[in-house]
Symmetry: C2
Subunit: 298 residues, 2 copies
DNA sequence: ACTGGATCATGAATTTCTCTCAACAAAACC
DNA sequence: GGTTTTGTTGAGAGAAATTCATGATCCAGT
């Protein structure tokens, strides 16, 4: 065994690097500054006497050495997670329940894979979805009706409720390619004034656009609803109005040129997603694992 | 992936714990204080909510959780070492030579397994033994005639020569069961006065006993030589004299009651083994790995 | 049961490291 | 060519692991 400076955090970094394709995004993923990663990698590369990836390519490309260490990282992470799950199930008795409350429709896109992975790894934990569309999800946690809520922005601290950041994303305006506003580099709230906002059938203040973009500017466009993301896009493409969705949820359609996306405001509208859990459960390994799975997007 | 406090150092600790069977010996093995390990393990056990091994049994017994993590540790260490060897061979070109000089006969007992493992892992490195029995091994390194020397005690720093601690051991006196001195709890230098010292055919000052025990007290017993450890034991058992050998090298014979061992001095004679290497090579991964293999005893 | 020695635990202080911060360099992108 | 994104670097702050000193516990041998 070579005494090496390789630590778990380096393995996490490598995986995040491969998953995100850039230093700065990898830094977000592991909740440190990109400066930290730069230092980390400099040290590693110094130790191995070789660069681990080519900088300045998008996405970055690993060198042979980097790729080998990345493979190691994936193996080790997998093995470690497995061992720790086993131990946790012996120690914790294996039981438990996890009732998930969600307030945003698009969340299901990433929630489903995470839930699937979870079910496989924690078969003894009862996993349920409780609708969060009527009540505020966080109050469901507070009252004990849910064990896990996905909420927007950092929630105000409440007694008995722990929170953890999940990830951030950008919500963008979606327009038909032929829409007049498609010429602008970005959209202002006023641009929505005469338009129809196409969205999921939820309350106004459950929508990122309304809460953080339109409402502050006093703009209240007409609304039209659709249950499914594809349906919304259909309406947008046929010129029935504008939508506002998380950038990643429409990635595929943008690449095909089906519709176009525009930032909301000059610097875009970034939204943060947080998890809220009962403090009594926050330390449970299966809950922490669930959070981790969501962060990794699987 | 559960975000866990499990770090590489913890895995090293677990393996050392299993190999040595006690906290304090494991601490020696990883070159930290026993206190450090105690803290480490307390943290780990706190995290997993379960003890990892039963204390106060000799050797210690792992719990189910501890055993699982130990298995993980072994896996991860193996995978990591393998990956790093590959990377090192790509980066370093794979070549190199390793000429080993040794000054003590018993060293071969642990050197051979280490060399065997090394040959397997670094097939491209030329591994040779150069006799260190005529010259002082460390000067062979200094003159460039050897790349690796095993020496006693911490060597005085020399220009261009790097040193690294290998391990410590106790050398004990070996007597026939019927020998009068076998009644004493420990032997003083004076006890050797009228006796015959049976040892390997090397200079006086190459023997731990002489250099650190007898010579300082001005005692110079008669000497009689044998090439092989078994031969020495033979002579001892038949009452021809006393030997002084590393405790671990005669372990098997002691258990069978073939001979008896006595500490040299009231608190025993502990010897330290060091490696001396050219500074220019000290950082080479294959050299560090060789050191590591020796420390692990394989 | 008592004593001596070895093994392990604990708390405070220190050292060691990593991270962040802030300013800079280098690309990339209009 | 300016402007924005992305990565680098050095210094300082903060956290965490280690050591040191000491106390508790356990086992062996009488």
């Amino acid at each position: 065994m070579i005494q090496s400076p390789l630590e778990m955090r380096h393995l996490q970094t490598l995986v995040a690097l491969a998953d995100t394709g850039s230093l700065s995004r990898a830094a977000e993923r592991v909740f440190v500054t990109q400066s930290a990663l730069s230092h980390q990698l400099k040290l590693l590369e110094g130790h191995y006497g070789s660069p681990l990836f080519e900088r300045g390519t998008k996405p970055l490309r690993f060198t042979q050495a980097g790729a080998r260490l990345l493979a190691l990282a994936r193996q080790v992470r997998e093995l470690t997670a497995e061992a720790e799950r086993e131990v946790a199930q012996w120690v914790g008795g294996g039981g438990g329940q996890l009732r998930v409350a969600v307030e945003c429709h698009t969340c299901f896109d990433w929630l489903m894979p995470a839930m699937d992975a979870f079910r496989e790894h924690w078969p003894q934990v009862e996993l349920d979805l409780v609708s969060g569309f009527q009540a505020e999800p966080i109050s469901l946690v507070e009252t004990g009706a849910a064990d896990f809520a996905v909420v927007h922005d950092r929630p105000a601290p409440r007694a008995g409720v722990a929170t953890a950041p999940l990830f951030t994303y950008e919500t963008v305006a979606i327009l038909s390619r032929k829409h007049p506003l498609a010429q602008k580099p970005w959209l202002s709230p006023q641009d929505f004034a005469g338009e129809t906002l196409i969205s999921y059938p939820v309350e106004d203040d459950m929508l990122d656009v309304v809460r953080h973009f339109l409402a502050p500017a006093g703009v209240k466009p007409k609304r039209r609803n659709a249950e499914l993301t594809v349906a919304i896009l259909q309406l947008v493409a046929s010129g029935r109005g504008i939508a506002a969705l998380p950038a990643w949820s429409v990635q595929a359609y943008l690449e095909r040129g089906y519709v176009v996306a525009k930032p909301l405001g000059e610097s875009g509208l970034r939204c943060e997603l947080y998890a809220a859990m009962p403090e009594s459960l926050a330390e449970k390994p299966y809950l922490q694992d669930f959070v981790a799975k969501i962060r990794e997007g699987a």
